[in-house]
């Protein structure tokens, strides 16, 4: 490119190409001027003009990266929390189930114990009632014997209070009890 242009230029020097004439010396000048300008601008002008913008861009990029990082972090922690929550839910469920089971067992135990106690109490009461009744019966019987004897001795006016007579009456009463 450069070579062909230079060739064109040198061949057309004084060749009457008019506005299309290319002066290679001018190309050297252009490079000299532009490269100097470029270096000066790069050193003294562009950084001063762009520094604020570049700093802002860098800040924004950093913030975006930070936001992305935080977002990822939040996502992982959310996942973790979800997992944790699921775990704790399960745990709670098992705890509740355990408690329920325990409560059921306890209730059953208490119920059975209460029933047992009740039965025991009933038994005891029945036994006591029986015993009481027996005692009352014997007492009644004794009193009845005494009364009968007293009445009989009054009636007979005899010495009927000997043991044979007492036994006779008792036997009689017994036979009455058996009849009933």
């Amino acid at each position: 490119m450069l070579f062909s242009l230079v060739m064109l230029a040198t061949s057309s020097e004084e060749g009457g190409l008019g506005p299309f004439a290319v002066n290679p010396g001018l190309m050297i000048w252009t490079w000299l001027v532009f490269i100097t300008l470029f270096l000066l601008l790069r050193r003294f002008a562009w950084p001063a003009i762009l520094s604020a913008t570049e700093a802002r861009e860098k800040k924004i990029a950093d913030q975006l990266a930070e936001a992305e990082r935080l977002n990822a972090e939040a996502a992982t922690s959310l996942e973790e929390h979800k997992k944790l929550l699921a775990g704790s839910k399960e745990e709670a469920q098992t705890l509740i189930a355990d408690a329920k089971q325990l409560a059921d067992k306890e209730r059953d135990q208490i119920l059975s114990r209460a029933r047992e106690e009740q039965e025991q109490m009933l038994d005891r009461a029945k036994r006591e009632i029986d015993a009481e009744r027996d005692r009352a019966l014997t007492e009644l019987r004794k009193v009845a014997v005494e009364l009968s004897l007293a009445a009989a001795s009054k009636l007979v006016e005899q010495n009927l209070d000997d043991d044979s007579n007492r036994k006779f009456v008792a036997d009689y009463l017994d036979s009455l009890g058996e009849r009933n």
């Binding site: 450069l2 290319v22 532009f34 003009i49």
Partner: protein, 298 residues
């Protein structure tokens, strides 16, 4: 009296074409026609030719060299001042304002919407200083042509070619650095899809001249586009002025023609102002895009 003068002018038979070429062409002196005629043409020094190998170079400064230096000086001063002002304004905890703010917005536009948009996000910031420098250098050079007594260095094919060669080097060397030597050679000897072995190699070799031509056409187009646009604009303006000279001998009509031409030239000047920005934009954007294309070649 006026009639005599007009006739005199007509007798001189003004050659508009020559005026046009004379005013757009490079020169070894700077003229101060009309108002500052008494300053006379300033003759630039003439240096002897230098022989480098088979080439004959003449590094004598010309009119375009002077205006190129003025453009470079103005670019540097405006940007440097902008940087200083921005720093001072920021140090005051204030937002940028005024001239500095406008220039900052302009520079940022070039950086973001030309350099980074063209080259790509990752490498854009690295090439931005080059793109910004070339943009503002071309812009100022273009605008200098619209200033009275000014000339557009970018209306000279040698200068646009030199700038295009710099773009070419940025494109190709940037590509080499990014792709590595092997990857870069792939851009000359392309991989032919759907072929293997010897036919693929033959095809690749056949494609090489086209690829090389494709590489060379880009800077050539850049150079000719910029040069053509700037030169053509000046041609149009000067040709319109030429109308005044052509019809200057007419009795009354010359006034009407003069005003009409002045109006037309004003319109064309506005168009030129737009084109000055547009061509700087196009040159910078295409350079950035070509660099970007090369960076993403694979």
């Amino acid at each position: 009296m006026i009639q005599e003068h007009a006739q005199e002018q007509a007798q001189e038979s003004v050659n508009v074409g020559e005026i046009v070429l004379h005013h757009t062409a490079d020169a070894s002196e700077i003229e101060f026609d009309l108002i500052f005629t008494h300053l006379g043409p300033y003759h630039l020094p003439h240096w002897n030719d230098i022989h480098v190998g088979g080439l004959t170079l003449n590094l004598s400064p010309t009119k375009h060299v002077v205006f190129m230096l003025i453009a470079a000086f103005l670019v540097f001063v405006s940007m440097w001042v902008t940087g200083r002002m921005l720093k001072a304004q920021r140090a005051d905890q204030g937002a940028p304002r005024g001239f500095a703010n406008a220039m900052e917005a302009f520079v940022l536009f070039v950086r973001d919407d030309i350099a980074i948009a063209g080259v790509g996000k990752e490498m854009g910031a690295k090439y931005a200083p080059f793109i910004m420098s070339i943009f503002f250098f071309i812009l100022y050079s273009n605008l200098l042509g619209l200033v009275p007594y000014g000339a557009s260095p970018t209306g000279n094919l040698a200068i646009t070619a030199a700038l295009a060669i710099l773009s070419f080097l940025a494109i190709e060397i940037g590509g080499m650095m990014k792709l590595g030597m092997g990857g870069y050679m792939r851009t000359i000897f392309p991989k032919v899809p759907g072929m293997t072995g010897a036919p693929a190699m033959a095809m690749s070799m056949a494609m090489a001249p086209i690829e090389v031509l494709g590489k060379l056409v880009k800077p050539f187009a850049l150079a000719v586009r910029l040069f053509g646009n700037m030169t053509a604009g000046h041609f149009v303006i000067l040709s319109l002025f030429g109308i005044i000279f052509l019809f200057g001998q007419l009795e009354i009509w010359r006034w009407a023609i003069g005003f009409a031409t002045a109006g037309l030239v004003t319109l064309i000047m506005m168009l030129e102002l737009f084109i000055a920005f547009l061509q700087a934009y196009v040159f910078a954007l295409l350079t950035a895009t070509f660099i970007g294309l090369m960076q993403h070649e694979h």
